[in-house]
Amino acid sequence: MPPPQAVINGNCDQRRTLVVIFLRGAADGLALVPPVTDDHYYRARPRLGILAKDAVKLDERFGLHPKLRPLESAWREGELAIVHACGTEDQTRSHFEAQDLMEHGGVVAGGWLGRYLRTRPSETRGALACVAVGKALPECLLGAPTVTVMQSLEEFAIAGRTPALGTQLEKLYGMERGQLGAAARDTFAALMRIEAMRTTKYRPDNGATYGRDEFSNGLSQLARLIKADVGLEAASIDLAGWDSHFAQQGQVEGLAGKLAEGLAAFRKDLGARMATTTVVVMTEFGRTVEENSAFGTDHGRGSTMFVLGGGVRGGRIHGEWRGLEPDVLEKRGVLEGYGDLPVLNNYRNVLAAVLARQVVGCGEVDMASVFPAFAVKPMKIFG
C-alpha cells in the first residue's frame, strides 16, 4: 500500500501543484487579449487588429483572441484571471536577456521557482516534487533541490531491464531505519503508482480530449501525475514559436489554438483537482503596438499573463491599464511612431501571488529569497 500522501508530498495541504507555462519568443498580448474598444488599437493595427465582432467578449474593454475561445468557460466560471501590460524591467528587447531575467526573477543567480522550492516552508520533499517537461532544464528551475526533466512517463522507472534489481533494492532499503529508509519507501510507492500508469493507456477524465501536439501531450502527462498523487509540486512546460515578425496572423492563431485547447483539456481532465492546481502562463515581453510592413509585429515591452486554477479571482483583468493613447506608450528610442505598451504590472507581483497561494495554511513564502532585491507587492489575484 502506498503510504499516506503527507509523507510523499512536501506541501501543506498535500495536493497543491503549480504548472508554469512559458510562451517562448514573446507572445503578442495585444493579439491574445485585444483592447477591442480602443480606437488607437485599430489605428496602430489596421490589418492585424482583432475585431470586436470576432473576439470573445471579456469585459467592456477587452476581448479574447477567437482561437482562445476554449478558455471562455474558465473565464465565465471565474477560474481564469488575466493580467495585462505585464512584464519585466528589461529594456534590451532581447529574447535571451529578457527570458533569463524573468526566469531568474531579476539579475540574480538561479531561478525563481528553484529558489522557491529550496526555501518554501515545509520539511519534506517528495522524490518527484518537480518536473520539467522537455529536453532541458529551464532557467526558472535552476537551483531546485531535485528536478526531473522528462518528455514522457517512460523516464520514471528504475532503468534497466532487470525488475529483480528493484525488488532486491526494496529488500535492502526495507532494512534501513531512519530517514533513508522512509525516503526509499516513498520512492517505491511513487514508482508503483507510475508503473500502474505506464502499463495502462491513459483515459482522461470527464470526457476531456487532448490534441496530438507536443504541448497537449505534455499537459496530459502532467495531469496524470497530478491525479496519481506522486507528490508533484511544480512543473514547467514551454510552448515556443511566438516570435511573429512576419505574417503573424496564422502563426498566432495556430499557437493560441494549441494553448487554449491544451489548457481547456487539462482543466476538464483535472475536474475537481483544479481546486488545488494553479497554472500560470507567461512570456518574456510583448510586441509592438503598431504592426510592421510585413503583417507582423516586432519586439515590444508589456504583454499578458494568465492565471488559471482554484481560488483565482477569475473573470477579470487584474492590474493597471492605461489604454493605448500615444502619450501613455513607452518611447522606442528616437524613432517616430507608436511606442510600446508599457510594463505597468511587474511579473514578479503576479508570481508572488501564485506562490503565496501554494503555501496557504503552512507558512509564508520567503519572498526576499525568491525575488531578491525587489520589493514584492503580490497582486490580489486570489480570493
Binding site: 538561479g110 532544464l137 533541490p145 528504475i158 534497466g160 534489481l165
Partner: protein
C-alpha cells in the same frame, strides 16, 4: 615536451603521437592518441588488487571514504601497504604528488581553463609586446581574466563543470579536490548571475584552486577581490560618492555570516554596515569597457571616514588598506576558527560535529594562522574522526556518490552532458547553487532523489550513459570474482543480505552501487 591541443590539431595526430611516444612506445600510442585527442581514459589498473577483508570498515577504507571521492580498485591495498598516516601526509601535500594523467586531460580538453593568458591578449610578462608597454595594467591579474569574455558563457560553464568532474574522478590529489569542493561551497558563487558567467572560471583558478590546501587568510583576501565575487555579491556596486550614498551591504553581510564568523559569531548589524563602508570603492570593470573583468579600487568612491569593526578602530584615510584591516580582524577572531572548524568537522566527521573535535580543529586553525593542512592534520588526529561507530555514517552528497561510482568501477568518462544530466537531476551539478551559502552538507537535504541514484547505478553498469563506459566483467575477474568485487566496492566484506541481493538482482554491480551502504561514506 609540451604540445598544446591546438598545435596537435594543426600538426595532426600521427606526427604528435610519434614525437611524444617514440618508436619504443608504439603499443601505447593508441592510448596516447586518445588522450591527445582529448578523450580522457581511465588510468590502467596497476599493482595489487587485494580487496578489503574486514567485516566492518577498517581504517584504510575509512580514510579512503572521507579523504577522497571514493576508492578505486587497488587503492585499499596501496594505502594499506603505505599506512594511513603516510597516506594522509601524502594527500596533505598535493604538490608533491605526480598527477600527469589528470593534468594532461585537463590541459588538452579545456583551452578555456588551461590557457589562462587567452588567445587575443599578449602573454603575461612579455615586455616587448607593444600593447603591454602601452598598458602596463595588462601585466596584472586583470589581464588574465579579460580573455574569458572571448568564450560563450555556456561554454565556460560546461568546461568548468566537466573539468570539475574529471578532476574529481581522475586526480591523484584527492583530498585537494575534496577541499576544492569544500571551498567552492564555502565561497559559493552561482555563475548564472550577470558577468559572473565569465568570471567564475577565474575565481575557480585564482581563489579556490589556488588556496584549497593553502592559507585561509590568503584565500579570503583573494575571494574579496575576485571579480566574480564582486559581481555575485554586488561588491562592485558598493560605493560612496556623495555623503548620502548608502553602502551596499550584500558582500559585507555574507563575509561575516558565511565566510568568516558564522551567523552566531558575535557581530551586529552595525558591524555589517561598518565592514561595508570599509569595502566601498572596490569594483570591477564591466564588459562594456576595456580591460573587462579587471578589479580596481576607486579612491573617490571610498568612504574615507573612520570606522569601528567588532570593537576595533580603523582610522580615517587608510583607503584600500581598509580591506586588509578588516580581513585581519575577521581572520583573527575566534568565531572564525570555530565556524571553519565546525564546517570541516561536519564535512569530515559527522553532520552533527562532535564538540571536542571542533575545539581541537579550531585551535589548530587559530594557532597556525589559518593554515589549511595544519588544521586538517589536527582534525584527522582527533579520536572522533576515527571512531568505529561513526565510520560509514556520512551520507554521500550526489556529486560524491556519482564520482565514487565512477572511481569504484574504473569508468572511462568524458564527463559530458549525459553524465552531468544525472547531477542536475540529483540537484548537485557543480556551480549551479543560487544562494551564497553553497550546497548543504547534511544528509536530510539529499535523500529525496534516491531514484536517480538507482537509475544512475543501473545506467552506468549497463553502459547506458553516453561518453561513459565501464568494463564490468573484466573488473570482476581482475578482483578475483564476486566476493572481491563486493568487498572492493563496499570497502568491507558484504553482509549476508547484501550478498544475497547481489546474486538475486540480475545486475550485481548495479545493486552494489545503488545499495544503502554505497550511499554512505
Amino acid at each position: 615536451m609540451s604540445v598544446t591541443r591546438r598545435q596537435f590539431l594543426v600538426a595532426g595526430a600521427g606526427a604528435v603521437v610519434a614525437a611524444v611516444s617514440g618508436c619504443d612506445r608504439v603499443k601505447e600510442s593508441a592510448v596516447e592518441a586518445r588522450r591527445w585527442l582529448g578523450k580522457p581514459t581511465a588510468p590502467p589498473l596497476m599493482g595489487a588488487m587485494t580487496p578489503p577483508a574486514a567485516r566492518d570498515l577498517d581504517e584504510v577504507s575509512h580514510v579512503l571514504n572521507r579523504l577522497t571521492f571514493g576508492a578505486r580498485p587497488g587503492d585499499h591495498a596501496r594505502v594499506g601497504a603505505m599506512g594511513v598516516q603516510a597516506f594522509i601526509e601524502e594527500q596533505l601535500a598535493p604538490q608533491k604528488l605526480e598527477d600527469w594523467i589528470c593534468e594532461r586531460v585537463i590541459r588538452h580538453e579545456f583551452d578555456s581553463l588551461a590557457d589562462p593568458e587567452g588567445t587575443l591578449l599578449p602573454r603575461k610578462g612579455n615586455a616587448s609586446d607593444p600593447l603591454q608597454a602601452l598598458f602596463p595594467a595588462m601585466k596584472d591579474k586583470g589581464a588574465r581574466v579579460s580573455h574569458l569574455y572571448e568564450y560563450k558563457d555556456k561554454v565556460l560553464l560546461e568546461d568548468l563543470t566537466r573539468a570539475t568532474v574529471l578532476r574529481a574522478v581522475l586526480s591523484e590529489r584527492q583530498l585537494y579536490e575534496v577541499m576544492v569542493q569544500f571551498w567552492t561551497d564555502h565561497f559559493n558563487i552561482d555563475p548564472s548571475k550577470a558577468e559572473a558567467k565569465w568570471l567564475k572560471a577565474a575565481d575557480d583558478r585564482d581563489v579556490i584552486r589556488a588556496g584549497a590546501l593553502g592559507n585561509f587568510r590568503e584565500m579570503l583576501r583573494a575571494s574579496a577581490v575576485s571579480p566574480a565575487m564582486l559581481w555575485y555579491l554586488d561588491g562592485r556596486a558598493n560605493r560612496r560618492v556623495k555623503p548620502a550614498d548608502k553602502p551596499n551591504e550584500n558582500y559585507a553581510r555574507e563575509l561575516l555570516e558565511l565566510h568568516t564568523l558564522g551567523v552566531h559569531g558575535g557581530y551586529t548589524q552595525q558591524d555589517v554596515m561598518e565592514v561595508a563602508r570599509c569595502l566601498t570603492g572596490w569594483t570591477v570593470r564591466d564588459k562594456k569597457k576595456f580591460f573587462k573583468g579587471r578589479v580596481e579600487f576607486h579612491e573617490w568612491e571610498h568612504d574615507a571616514g573612520p570606522k569601528r569593526v567588532l570593537g576595533v578602530d580603523i582610522p580615517a584615510g587608510l583607503g584600500a588598506s581598509d580591506l586588509d584591516r578588516v580581513l585581519e580582524i575577521l581572520v583573527a577572531h575566534p568565531s572564525t576558527a570555530k565556524h571553519v572548524a565546525e564546517k570541516l568537522c561536519r564535512k569530515f566527521i559527522a553532520d552533527e560535529p562532535p564538540a571536542a573535535a571542533v575545539a581541537a580543529t579550531a585551535e589548530a586553525f587559530a594557532a597556525s594562522g589559518g593554515d589549511v593542512p595544519t588544521t586538517l592534520r589536527a582534525l584527522f588526529a582527533t579520536e572522533e574522526f576515527w571512531q568505529q561507530a561513526g565510520r560509514g555514517g556520512k551520507f554521500k552528497r550526489p556529486f560524491h556518490f556519482v564520482v565514487s561510482a565512477l572511481r569504484a568501477t574504473n569508468a572511462e568518462t568524458d564527463a559530458s552532458k549525459a553524465l552531468v544530466d544525472y547531477l542536475v537531476r540529483l540537484g548537485h551539478a557543480p556551480f549551479r547553487y543560487a544562494t551564497p551559502d553553497g550546497y548543504p552538507e547534511a544528509a536530510s537535504h539529499w535523500q529525496s532523489s534516491l531514484l536517480w541514484r538507482w537509475n544512475f547505478a543501473s545506467a552506468l553498469v549497463g553502459n547506458g550513459i553516453k561518453g561513459t563506459s565501464i568494463a564490468g566483467e573484466e573488473l570482476r575477474e581482475r578482483l578475483g570474482g564476486d566476493e572481491g568485487l563486493m568487498a572492493t566496492v563496499l570497502g568491507r566484506r558484504a553482509s549476508e543480505a547484501e550478498r544475497e541481493a547481489y546474486h538475486e538482482s540480475g545486475s550485481g554491480l548495479a545493486l552494489l552501487l545503488a545499495s544503502p551502504a554505497f550511499q554512505y561514506c
